[in-house]
Symmetry: C2
């Protein structure tokens, strides 16, 4: 069993944990909103909402949020307990996700340091998983690396003539999210280029050239 | 906020927790099978599998299962840790589900004792949730109660002339699962009959007649 096989399990697991946590957090909100609707509606982020729910009483929250007349009902302790337990568990599930992410980061740094340097641990792991392993990823041309994870949009383009996708998994790379709209495609091509080199070096356990690759991209980004 | 509103949150939550636990348990198996495939394949039940995984070493398990040559790979401690943590968390999620089920049972016994007596806590709560509350459930004719939760099959029957469904949520009632195949429909009608009476009494907070209803069904079951 190679490291990329383990990595694929872990990164898929992170996705599934996220899915679960979101499903349960939505239920938690619906349930808690019977009790204290104003607080739930003012805090969009699930993790923050759960922290607040677990640490502050309804009264404190309503004072803070300056709620004068609450639409929520009074709950007995007995009826609050299952809500609190659910919140506690979701918090722990988020904790598990974070630990799995740390595990992925450690493994990326150890076994695929060049990909990690160019794409970051999570995006890098997703690329390896989407390609089906490091050796497959290393064989892909950079144009395919650029579109990995955008297969649906690509086939829609080929079938119906809709706009072709410009990026797949790498869309979340900070260099792309920070680029101007008209430059995003160019930056994606640049990153994919260096990524396909990084994957080849990592696959054949070559030396660490991640810093160099990163610097080359940064140089070019200045001129974009 | 009435008790049936809380009940609906809790019973839907139990379903969602189950879905999550299954999703994560499937991933756990796939991951663990890289390490010890024989053990995972011989234990079908997720909860039992997780207990075994957490309490026994690979060596012990292989001795017990008389595996002479394992297809699994060796794992470092570091690589086993995320698997163990995932297993631990799934176990806790099952624990949460059981506590939510106990909460549902307590509430059914307190607020809907007649439905609880005839259908049991979990099936009763599902019926209330599917109907959209106790007052709606109490208004349904017993033929509708019988088919609650089988709407898809019912519409398929009406549209395509496929076989009509004989039961919905109550299919898991022990009296129905234990009945002979040709009697299941009859038993379902019997239970639905008494259930619609039970729902009416519970809705108007009447006395407890659950024992009587149960006995009447049991009498008739003898003659089925």
């Amino acid at each position: 069993v190679h490291d990329d096989t383990l990595l694929m399990q872990a990164i898929n697991n992170v996705d599934e944990i996220d899915k679960c946590a979101n499903l349960l957090a939505k239920r938690l909100r619906e349930w808690y909103e019977l009790y204290n609707p104003e607080a739930s509606k003012q805090i969009d982020d699930h993790e923050k909402f759960i922290d607040v729910l677990l640490n502050k009483s309804k009264e404190d929250l309503q004072k803070e949020l300056k709620v004068k007349f609450s639409m929520g009902a009074d709950f007995s302790k007995e009826n609050l307990k299952p809500i609190d337990e659910l919140a506690e568990k979701i918090k722990e599930i988020y904790g598990l996700r974070n630990r799995e992410k740390e595990y992925i980061e450690g493994m990326m740094k150890k076994s695929f340091p060049n990909i990690e340097a160019v794409a970051g641990a999570q995006i890098g792991a997703k690329l390896i998983a989407q390609a089906g392993g490091i050796s497959r990823l290393s064989e892909l041309p950079s144009s395919t690396v650029q579109l990995l994870g955008a297969e649906k949009a690509l086939f829609r383009h080929m079938k119906t003539g809709a706009k072709p996708p410009k990026y797949g998994i790498i869309i979340n790379h900070p260099w792309i999210t920070n680029a101007n709209k008209e430059n995003k495609g160019k930056v994606a091509r640049l990153i994919a280029n260096k990524l396909s080199i990084a994957a080849k070096v990592d696959n054949f356990s070559g030396e660490f050239i991640g810093d160099k690759l990163k610097k080359e991209i940064e140089e070019k980004l200045k001129r974009v």
